[in-house]
Symmetry: C2
Subunit: 396 residues, 2 copies
DNA sequence: GTTGCTTTGTCCTGTGACTGGAGAAAGCCA
DNA sequence: TGGCTTTCTCCAGTCACAGGACAAAGCAAC
């Protein structure tokens, strides 16, 4: 079945589609208030959109003291796929055209198995969502991968934690398999777009979105647009030096932030503490292989374990020092903290805040909120849907 | 005498004015090639510009095998003023509409004397340039000040090194005195715009411009536009922590980059080395008050003094470490090093390069040139002219 | 029910922006 | 002098758009 064959024919139509996406159903009059076009011109464009089937008019709204208005809304059958590929798990979700999540699956997975195996799994998950009746097909898909991406082509470049992916034509391959347009981006950028669309970053033009998962990355939004850098590696803050001649890092350098704090580093440090008998609480959570995960540390911290709390605080301090530097440099209007280690929540946040507020200049921190992401694991998939809808809702 | 009363009436005219500014005189046909308008429409807009007097047609170009074309150029009487206020000196220059420097004066000065005294001096310098016959008046002025600026209003905010300036309405006051439109920005942003217009950063979309003068700052250009941050303090990297619990800094914190390397820090360290007898070369340059300046260090280094070279190298290393972090974060296409301490040149550059190439990821540094600014002290004033011309050459 | 008022949506015409072609002007070359 | 090229101008036709007139549809007061 072919879907969404039409695209907006001009900037007006694209604008209208985005308004309907972000603001939900609207009357012609309400649209006119937001769009600075005469009612006649607006009517023409809306009619054309109705003809293409991209939007539909269904039912009448309640009267506001005069003639009742028609509800104009995006085609209710439109479906976007959001895919967030992490280091150790995948999230796949379907949304409608308003980017509301209709169904969401999370499964463990290992990126290092390579793109072929991973996409087999992703396609199976997508098929499952479709089979459950949530979608008859997909009109577009936005994919996030945990590494730098050459954005225009949708190809990962030199990704440190997923070596088999270098140069794999993700966009092209998935577009073929799914039979719909596909856009690919860094997972951190997707999270930023998610929080921008439906989370804490609504209405903020310039902000940073720090994602602490298996690694650490940072989404950069400038004037409402994701900034990707010259080679697509902007925001790659995991390998900023946090300690001169410090711990060795997987990247070959020493003292990288990621070597001190990230899901992986936290798990390793906690395991060490547990096996050295520094924390009974942590030791009790060791698995058969004698290992701990970041989730265990979060649980131990929630139970009040001092060692776990110390690990989190120390990591938060390191991260906070780096963020403080970025805040001085970038002067954002908001800093969002998110990612897999959400359980660490407020202990982590407090440590980061302390460092930033202490080290950055008052002018940069004066009105700077530093908050946790609001969407959790759905930020990435919503960001994916947002990414592809931005693409499709732009002039052909 | 009233000047440049007209402004471009629409985006087409603005575009044409900028093309003429950046590309020099052009025929209608050449303009048409760059502007994607029909020849008829183009002719209409050019005619309107000719009517307003913003552009003039003077003479015929050589034939290229057919009818000779008219030379269309910006009005030759247009004059912009570029003012670059540093911590210890001012640069004032006049340019024509193509932003070519026609005259340039530099004078020592102390910002701490406050805006009134400083502007008295600036106005005198501008009058001198005018008196020398280079300009009959000014059509606009771009001013750079060494501190953060609330850009839309042109007002310095909480500038650390120039306390008397906080909230002083620079734009309004100067506009009144000069009788022409004025725009105000951070001096570092001006330098970035200068190098972008006429220096090493031509044709680079995303780059960083690190200015090492009395302090250290960084101009950020994203997609060809200067990025100023939420409160106008973006690029304020002098107070990024370079050393935990390090040297006390004038800002009240400890370990700031500026406490280790900047014109002021370098002078202080060199003076110390000289008085402690660690360098005869430096000691020979002490002034009557027993002090050295950054220029003395540069001279000593040029003479091969090991202590001076060490100081520069050490400072370069610190600066390079911070820049490495910023490169990882921002992934620029170019890094420009400039500012008062140009004499330190290649020793400094080598130290910075070493750190950046060693600490940043290959993807970010692979094609990353790190170069000295090309314009020296004229970068700022050209940037000022560029700033105001961008403003004036935009639709009214 | 009727009347007046409000809101929503449609229709129509006039205006200005813009394109593309025809051709004039001006130059080169043989 | 006649072809060929480039540059520039003029003109008519097309399209985008605004804004007013008007129709449709609803509410409320009488």
């Amino acid at each position: 079945m072919r879907r969404m064959t039409a695209r907006p024919a001009n900037a007006h139509q694209a604008r209208l589609l985005r308004l309907l996406r972000d603001g939900g159903p609207n009357s012609r009059a309400q649209l006119g208030d937001q769009v600075d076009l005469s009612r006649s011109k607006l009517a023409v464009e809306v009619d054309r959109l109705l003809e293409t089937g991209l939007v539909v008019a269904d039912g009448l709204a309640a009267s506001r003291g005069g003639r009742r208005s028609h509800n104009i809304r995006l085609a209710p059958a439109l479906r976007f796929l959001g895919v967030d590929i992490g280091a150790t798990s995948v999230d796949v979700a379907v949304t409608n055209a308003e980017l509301e999540v209709l169904g969401h699956i999370n499964q463990p997975m290992d990126v290092r198995e390579g793109p072929v195996a991973v996409f087999e799994q992703v396609l199976a998950m997508a098929a499952k969502l479709r089979a459950s009746g949530l979608a008859e097909g997909f009109d577009g898909a936005g994919i996030g991968v945990p590494g730098p991406v050459r954005f225009p082509e949708g190809v990962p470049v030199a990704p440190p934690i997923m070596p088999g992916w270098d140069g794999f034509p993700v966009r092209e391959a998935l577009s073929q398999e799914l039979g719909c347009p596909v856009m690919v981006d860094n997972d951190v950028n997707l999270m930023a777009m998610g929080e921008q669309h439906a989370g804490v970053a609504r209405s903020v033009g310039d902000f940073l979105c720090v994602k602490i998962g298996t690694g650490i990355g940072c989404g950069i939004v400038v004037g409402g647009e994701v900034y990707r850098g010259t080679t697509g590696s902007a925001g790659d803050i995991g390998h900023i030096q946090a300690e001169p001649d410090g711990r060795p890092c997987a990247c070959g350098n020493r003292g990288c932030l990621e070597a001190y704090f990230s899901g992986a580093a936290l798990a390793r440090d906690a395991t060490e503490a547990a096996t050295q008998g520094r924390s009974a609480e942590l030791a009790a959570r060791l698995d058969e292989a004698g290992r701990l995960s970041a989730v265990d540390v979060a649980a131990a911290a929630a139970a009040g374990d001092a060692t776990a709390l110390d690990l989190i605080r120390e990591g938060g301090n390191r991260t906070g020092q780096v963020i403080a530097a970025l805040v001085s440099f970038f002067n954002p209007g908001l800093v969002v903290i998110g990612g897999g280690v959400t359980g660490l929540g407020h202990t982590l946040l407090a440590a980061i805040r302390t460092q930033v507020y202490r080290q950055s200049l008052p002018l940069a921190t004066g009105n700077l909120p530093i908050v946790l992401g609001e969407l959790g694991p759905t930020a990435g998939v919503i960001g994916g849907a947002r990414l592809i809808s931005d693409h499709l809702f732009s002039p052909a």
